[in-house]
């Protein structure tokens, strides 16, 4: 009997991979077609840009030299290896190319420029037009052997022209997209972690904690960030992480207000009081019972935070106080566009990349917000 009872007991339902709530969120997300497609396009571009080194680089991906297989993309070989004398091998140099080709072979990435590679053979003074606007004679005119030169190939085309330092715009845009997105993502992640935590503590505990913290934030957010950046850049050479740290110091404030408000509202709800009466620790209450309430507000803000971080970086670069000279930066591209009105390919490339990137991110953010909104329903 006992066995039969066990046998006939209904099988414990298997937990689905996603909880029903999360399933609903996923449904909601997918229901926003624009956001859903944006996510895929963005992921494609982002993953592509993560492999920029294999797509646009001034080093071959693989080379064989005197029977040895080399990976110049990954390993910096001194030029002595090929009979030269530079500290870092210049694979674009015809001397080195001849040396390698006569002793083996090499496979180049589709674009033979990295973000700071100067194209020494531009047919016109920089900024040079996109290569497809020149005929073959003109395009190859600055190569040592002219049209017959083996370097005058598709891989050496500047598809989007060059900037005013004779660097390939396409390569710079590719690397610039990557650094902008990474900067934006890290900054958003960091500032939402800090901001949500700070807002939660204030809202949950209220009273003096809230009062003092609020005053502190008011003072803190009154500091003019741009001037501070100028001052700091006078002392420290600006770089990716210094900028990130500086921006992080101030951008977390944006989320505090909304999270605090949600926590203040919900801290005395009956279920919260009940949990408190049951002796649930504060931290658990905050995480399990209050945070989900604050999620919608937070997620509403996130896309703005993300696109805001990216445009801040871009504008700092534009002003010349961002990433150090030579970095792949979209702001610098726009600056160049402004200074070289006769080179529309700079402005157009910069505009398209930045606007597409920001729009995609905002669309995705919009869909995420829809997904987390408990009041929103889709058919």
């Amino acid at each position: 009997m006992a066995e039969a009872a066990i046998e006939s007991a209904p099988a414990r339902p298997r937990r689905p991979f996603l909880s029903p709530l999360n399933q609903r969120r996923l449904q909601n997300f997918k229901a926003n077609r624009r956001g859903y497609w944006s996510l895929w396009i963005f992921l494609f571009l982002f993953v592509l840009s993560l492999f920029s080194e294999l797509i646009a680089n001034d080093k071959p991906i693989i080379a064989s030299y005197k029977g040895e297989i080399l990976f110049p993309v990954l390993v910096a070989y001194p030029e002595e290896k090929f009979g030269g004398f530079y500290a870092v091998t210049d694979y674009r140099d015809p001397v080195i190319q001849d040396e390698i080709n006569s002793n083996g072979w090499m496979i180049w990435p589709p674009i033979r420029y990295s973000y700071q590679t100067v194209n020494n053979a531009i047919p016109e003074p920089a900024p040079a037009k996109p290569s497809w606007l020149y005929d073959k004679t003109k395009r190859c005119s600055q190569y040592p052997k002219g049209e017959a030169d083996e370097n005058c190939t598709l891989g050496n085309w500047n598809w989007l022209g060059t900037d005013d330092q004779a660097r390939d715009v396409l390569a710079r845009v590719l690397y610039g997209f990557r650094i902008s997105v990474l900067f934006g993502l890290i900054l958003t992640l960091g500032s939402s972690l800090i901001g949500v935590a700070a807002g939660a503590v204030q809202g949950y505990f209220g009273g003096w904690t809230d009062l003092l913290f609020q005053r502190f934030i008011e003072i803190w957010s009154a500091i003019p960030v741009l001037y501070l950046l100028l001052i700091v850049s006078a002392i420290l050479p600006p770089g990716f992480f210094i900028l990130l740290g500086l921006m992080l110091l101030f951008s977390w404030v944006a989320l505090v207000g909304v999270v605090r408000a949600e926590f203040l509202r919900a801290r005395n709800f009956e279920y919260v009081n009940a949990a408190r009466a049951l002796g649930v620790p504060n931290l658990t209450i905050m995480f399990r019972h209050l945070l989900p309430n604050a999620m919608v507000a937070t997620l509403t803000f996130l896309p703005f935070l993300l696109s805001g971080s990216i445009s801040t970086l871009t504008s700092l670069d534009y002003l010349g106080f961002g990433l150090p000279p030579g970095s792949a930066s979209l702001g610098e591209l726009l600056k160049q566009a402004q200074r070289n009105l006769n080179a529309p390919w700079l402005g157009i490339s910069g505009f398209i990349v930045i606007s597409v990137m920001l729009s995609l991110l905002v669309f995705i953010g919009e869909a995420t917000r829809d997904a987390f909104d408990p009041r929103k329903t889709f058919k």
Binding site: P78, A87, Q116, V118, N120, P125, G326
Partner: protein, 625 residues
């Protein structure tokens, strides 16, 4: 690409202290000029091209037709003038913005002859007499001199002007008057300027060109920038119509008292000179395209090479013409700061210089304009070339053991590259020099025996220089120098420059046509090496160079001055303290084809508004009559 830096006020003050500490050698200026005699002109060495009975300067057209309107963008400005706007018509005070060419409304005691390096001839002053100590100058004024309201211009006005400018004037004026002890009217037409004896040799040549203001006017009106009423002038032009901040017109005075003076003949030909103010040079260029502006000098290579494709130009109505630049010595170079341990060895400095591929830069960034600079006194007669002459050797020989051996061979030049951007020959030569200087390759960098990297950071304050220097930095990196560019804001740039806190820094300077000891000391003397704010950016402190500067300072005539300057140039170039960059050999002028101008441009100035005239025939041909 090119930036002219005047010595900022602050530096003068800092250097004043250094100069005071130095035992002053007897001033040689005017040593050859007779005292107690009435002179019609002055120059540093007493040599005057024009005799007392000259009728006009050689560089003007004495029969130039007069009239017409000249609407132009002035290429230069001084004192408190601004090319972008104006809010006062007083151009002589430190505050406010005044319109360009305001000084044109005022006559001066004497005027420069533009085909001589530093000669001045009497305008208001009929003659000048030197006192025996050569520190006082007595001017007798022309009795016919008049202000525009008809009142006579007297010695009182002159004395008043110099005191006023010394006390309240813009530093451009006041600084030259620092050592003026007194300006006194002896009688209605005689005035004396007395200097303390500490003044530089060139001071008086400068001071006699200052505008003479009306005592009556500035007694009745405050001497500051608070008002927008035209000060009473005395010259060929007076302020006509104007609209504050937008445009101003200078009208020719019909009954100008000095019309027939030899120093004026053939000049001031336009009936009206109009200047329009633009916040942005691009907007000014658009106005030029349309014919609103008739003359313009172009500062940007890119615009000069690419933007002149508008209808008026292709239709032949607008002309692009390059006029030779003034032959005053100029230096545009990169200072290698020898206060930094790693740059003490001249071979390191030479290696850095070899990494700069000027030919590539010129083709790809400069649109083929600019010339490679080789000398510290480029464009002038003081540029050394070839083997040293016996006279130069006479100066150099006693210093042989203190100077690099290259000084005594062919003048040092920067070798031209193959223009590929990565000239392997030059870079391997650079690497060899580094190796000789004790820098050995290890990994990606060259290291010294202590394992330290050879760092070299360019300090710049403008994006343009980031563009130009990036390939240079890339080449330095290629041979293992840890090179970088640091872009800072201009305040910090100024501070780090005056405290010598940089590795490499580029600067451009103009010397005067007759350099004095003071001019050169600021740049090259060991005394200025430690004075913050001096122009001795590379920290040259060599007794041999000091001795050569002395030789310049004590030159008795122009010929020995030239010899000494060339010897100094050789020594400086061989030491490689400065890496010469480039210079523009020409004025890039663009104008609507309706003007006549003298065939030959004077060597020491190019005041288009004074020398050119409207050619009615040409104007009619392009519909501008």
């Amino acid at each position: 690409m090119e930036r002219r830096t005047l010595l900022p006020r602050r530096d003068f003050l800092a250097l004043g202290a250094a100069a005071a500490a130095a035992a002053l050698l007897p001033g040689r200026a005017f040593a050859e000029t007779p005292t107690g005699v009435e002179l019609h002109g002055l120059s540093a060495f007493g040599d005057l091209k024009y005799k007392p009975d000259f009728t006009h300067f050689d560089y003007v057209n004495p029969n130039a037709p007069q009239g017409g309107t000249f609407n132009f963008s002035p290429p230069n400005w001084g004192a408190n003038q601004s090319p972008q706007t104006f809010n006062t018509l007083n151009s002589f005070v430190p505050k406010g913005d005044s319109p360009q060419r305001m000084e044109m409304c005022f006559d001066s005691l004497m005027v420069r002859a533009l085909d001589e390096p530093d000669a001045v001839y009497g305008l208001i002053a009929e003659s000048v007499t030197l006192a025996d100590d050569r520190n006082s100058f007595t001017f007798s004024l022309r009795p016919q001199a008049r202000f525009h309201d008809g009142t006579p211009l007297t010695a009182d006005d002159v004395a008043f002007t110099f005191k006023l400018l010394k006390d309240k004037g813009h530093p451009d004026y006041a600084l030259s008057l620092t050592h003026l002890d007194d300006a006194a009217a002896k009688d209605t037409h005689t005035v004396e300027l007395k200097f303390s004896g500490k003044q530089s040799a060139r001071t008086i040549l400068n001071v006699v060109g200052f505008p003479i203001l009306s005592k009556a006017f500035f007694t009745a009106n405050p001497f500051d920038s608070s008002q927008l009423n035209p000060p009473l002038g005395s010259s060929a032009y007076k302020v006509g119509r104007w609209s504050a901040g937008a445009w101003i017109e200078y009208e020719r005075v019909p009954d100008y008292w000095g019309n027939d003076l030899p120093v004026n003949r053939g000049q001031n030909n336009f009936g009206r000179i109009r200047i329009e103010f633009y916040q942005d040079r691009t907007a000014g260029f658009e106005a030029f395209k349309k014919g609103e502006i008739l003359y313009r000098e172009e500062f940007t290579s890119r615009v000069w090479a690419t933007a002149y494709d508008f209808p008026a130009f292709t239709g032949g109505k607008v002309i692009k013409h390059e006029f030779p630049a003034e032959t005053t010595p100029s230096m545009q170079a990169t200072a290698v700061n020898q206060r930094r341990e790693q740059f003490k060895d001249p071979r390191v400095r030479q290696a850095i210089a070899l990494c700069f591929d000027f030919e590539w830069t010129r083709r790809n960034f400069f649109y083929g304009s600019y010339e490679r600079s080789q000398s510290c006194f480029e464009k002038s007669d003081f540029r050394a070339s070839g083997m040293p002459t016996p006279q130069e050797l006479a100066l150099l020989e006693p210093l042989r053991d203190q100077l690099p051996p290259e000084t005594f061979g062919e003048a040092v030049t920067q070798p031209p590259s193959d223009g590929s951007g990565r000239d392997r020959k030059q870079l391997s030569a650079a690497l060899k020099l580094l190796a000789e200087a004790g820098w050995k390759r290890s990994g990606d960098f060259v290291l010294n025996d202590k394992g330290g990297r050879l760092t070299a950071e360019f300090l710049v304050d403008d994006e343009t220089f980031v563009q130009v220097y990036s390939p240079w930095v890339a080449n330095m990196k290629a041979i293992g120098i840890d090179a970088s560019i640091r872009l800072v804001d201009s305040a910090q740039y100024q501070l780090r420059q005056s405290t010598f806190d940089f590795d490499l820094l580029s600067a451009a300077f103009n010397f005067s046509a007759t350099p004095t000891r003071d001019d050169l000391e600021i740049f090259f003397h060991s005394r200025s090496a430690a004075v913050s704010g001096s122009r001795n950016l590379s920290g040259v402190a060599s007794p041999a160079i000091d001795a050569l500067i002395d030789a310049v300072g004590t030159a008795k005539d122009r010929e020995s001055l030239t010899t000494a300057m060339r010897a100094l140039d050789r020594a400086l170039r061989a030491r490689r303290d400065w890496i010469p960059s480039w210079y523009l050999a020409n004025h890039r002028s663009a104008y609507w084809d309706m003007f006549g101008f003298p065939e030959r441009k004077p060597d020491f100035g190019f005041p288009v508004e004074a020398l050119w005239w409207v050619d009615k025939g040409k104007a009619a041909k392009i519909g501008k009559a």
